[in-house]
Symmetry: C2
Subunit: 225 residues, 2 copies
Amino acid sequence: MRSDPAKSALFQAIALMGKAFASPVRLELLDLLAQAPRTVDELAQASGQSSANTSQHLQVLHAAGMVTRAREGTSVRYAVSGDDALALWLSLRDVSAARLAEVERAARAYLGDQVETIGPQELLGRLARGEAVLVDVRPATEFAAGHIDGARSIPLDELERRLAELPAGREVIAYCRGPFCAYAHRAVRTLEQAGRQARRLNVGWPEWKLGAHAAGPLTFGPGTG
Amino acid sequence: MRSDPAKSALFQAIALMGKAFASPVRLELLDLLAQAPRTVDELAQASGQSSANTSQHLQVLHAAGMVTRAREGTSVRYAVSGDDALALWLSLRDVSAARLAEVERAARAYLGDQVETIGPQELLGRLARGEAVLVDVRPATEFAAGHIDGARSIPLDELERRLAELPAGREVIAYCRGPFCAYAHRAVRTLEQAGRQARRLNVGWPEWKLGAHAAGPLTFGPGTG
DNA sequence: TGGGTATTCAATAGATAACTTGATAGCTTG
DNA sequence: CAAGCTATCAAGTTATCTATTGAATACCCA
């Protein structure tokens, strides 16, 4: 077994994908791409990195097979390469949150006080009975790239002046990018200060897309069926 | 959004776990630990690394929350820290195999010619009807640490001289560490050369343990239910 | 065809990581 | 308590990674 060159090549090849997850900048880019495909420039702006640096990190992600690249006129649009790649990123994120106290701590510090949540099952029931209204508080472009069926788009920074659009007497459920995104937290606080009843959906669009609404608790990895 | 320190800290913390997957040596250690807990020395020997180097890599894995550490007299025994961590490693492995041609290529080169396979569902049926016998061809210590219910242990290097133990007239199903392990391939070839009917189970012990037998095809990530 | 923009390439300096070697600490046994 | 073993630490060398800068390329549009 000592230094079998073929086996060694196998692990080396897998490590290429592992390296993709070794930089916080790349993780942030991946997290942005999990919401919607974007161009290099959009990603550079959203992540606060230089264009060149963003491009280089995207190439690492591309070499690892995590993202696809497509020319669009003068721009190049990157996207997560598939549901399996998306699920892998979410798994890494969730396992690290479960296993690393530092991630939990950083998440709490970033999100602020917890707000009341609702699960996918209960949400579907309340929506079907007309008791609740579902609001996507992400930026409009991300809503356009994909959203939960039946949701209406009110980006967080427009929420305050568009409160009237929300029917009174119905509870408002807000969702955003996922459990580590602050938008829905802030939306719920804004809504409550406006005297509305509001909760946060405990999954984001990527988790929903992968099927969180079809089953109960989140599960990981191969063969959970 | 530009350089939010709290958000940046979050990705930095997650990247700590990402870094764990960035080295082929660590991946090999993780792969070994996926079969059974082991001491530093055992891991060093199995991976062909120096003791000190192995220890350092294990510390990185430990800092990432992927493995646990327990003193056992004069030794220290490491183990994968839980089913979620195990599933994450298997997902990384499988997604990289699906997305990176180089991984596929290296796997084929390592495993040699394909042999006929059988799935968990069909296996359970044949076992229940007494038509097949299931053999675990991994080293005995890995069998002792956990194995598929009803399997008998015949390590690959003992298979040839223990052929008589296998009842004639029944198909032999061999399994080992997983889809990237060569043991079961070699076992099937050995058995066929001895005139026995044999197939390879298309999952290994870790996949089975995580529930591959309970459902059909492998699925990835959160919320597949 | 030429100007403008988006992306990538190339080169560099600074930071991090990998592996080796030799020393240290913890446990077991005589 | 001393000897012997296992694991970890510390220091040093080499290799790799990151981010920056400035140049080059690809595309669009006039």
